[in-house]
Every structure is written in C-alpha cells, then in structure tokens.
Amino acid sequence: MLRRTFLKGSLATGTVAVAVSAGLLSPRLVLAAWPKAAFEAKSVQAGLSSLLGSDTTTPSTDINIKAPDIAENGAVVPVTVSTGLSGVESIAVFVEKNTSPLAGNFLLGERAKGYVSTRLKMRKTSNVIAVVKSGGKLLSARKEVKVTIGGCGG
C-alpha cells in the first residue's frame, strides 16, 4: 500500500513540476501569503519595510543571537535567536550582505516562545540581524559572522 501511495504522490508532484516548468502554473500563485517582495528586496531596509511596514527598529539587549564568530562554511551557518520578551509576534532573520537579505520570517503563535533555531546560507562576512516584533514594536539585534567560504552560488 505504501508503495502505491508513493507512486501516486510522485506522479502528482511530477505533473505539477511539468506544469510549472512549462509556465502554465506560476508557482508564486500557489502561496498567496508568502511575502515575495520582502524576500526579493535587495537591502535590509527595503526588506523590513516590505515585510513589517517599517524600517526603523530599536536595538534591544533582550534579543540574543547565537551564531558562530567564524563560520568556515557559509552554506551552513547555525543561527539561534532567542528573546525573553513577552508577546512576540514574529522573528525575522536577515543576513545583511546576502543578495536578498531576508532569510526567513517566523510567525509565532500565542503559545510559541521567543525562540527559533535554523541554519542559514551566507555569501560573505556579514551581520546577522534579528528583528523581533513584539507588542507592535520592532526590536533588533545584530551579530557579525565571519565567513571563510561563501555559501551562495559557486
């Protein structure tokens, strides 16, 4: 049974992929909520205002970014953002010198804690900026990560 569903699944995704490559189906239409403009913005400011409606953030000491000081491989940079603030609505992570700085935006539900951890690609040595939206305010923290081998392109 499992093999059957597997076959069906791969067939279905296969047709979708064909439709996408033929240009019949724009992949952007599938997800309406995905903030395309913010992810394609070329600067942190543009990404911020597109994503959160404002590009002014207040530096905060309550946000903690855990990332290596020196990352040997820019393709995999583990980054953890944690904050003790309450009422955190979202955490956005930017890599300042990437072609498109916005790496990810985490929308946190009511019960989620101000903590996310993931791995990022970094093109070169740059600041990692975390922007926390809490109670309508934008708070930010940054940390520099030195990259020896870039992780975008090759």
């Binding site: 946190l108 690609k121 090759g154």
Partner: protein, 104 residues
Amino acid sequence: MAKTIRIRAKAKGDTTTVKALITHPMETGQRKNKKTGKKIPAHFIQEVVCKHNGATVMTAQWGPAISKNPYLSFQFTGGKAGDTIELSWVDNKGQSDSASVKVR
C-alpha cells in the same frame, strides 16, 4: 516523494521543544551548472507550518537563504507528552509534505 521530514518533540516542564530536519535541495536560483553554464532554477521551501493538536503554533516563511536540508527548532508552552505535533512544508514549485509525531 519519499519521506522528507524528521521531527522530534519533547516536553520538559511547561515547554515543548520541537526539532525538525527536512530533506530539500533549497536551490537559490543563483547557482550555475558548471557544465552548461545555465542557472539552476530556484527550488526552495517557502512555508513551514507547525501545528499542536490541530492549532497552529508557528509558521515559518523562508527564502532561499535557508540552508540545504533545513533544520528548524522552536519552543512553545502548553504541550504535554502524547500530544500530536504536525509539521508541513510547501515549496516554490508547489510540492509539499507533512509529518506528525507524538510529544515525548
């Protein structure tokens, strides 16, 4: 698609920590195929939704700057052992997968 999600959730006191590993190429659309010189088309996860007992606790919107085979971890309160955590993702080509696990 074969199984792409490995997920674990563990409750400690009031806090439940969810850790997930997804198998995905996460192509940025900027890399070039060295032989043909053509750009490899972008192929990355755009949205990850995580639900606890059917209620969404976290939604991640991702760009191509998230590493290949992404790792994701977050915490929430109110979970207990035996609860169901469901995680699903959708990428820019419309592919998707989901998996669920019981909180330990």
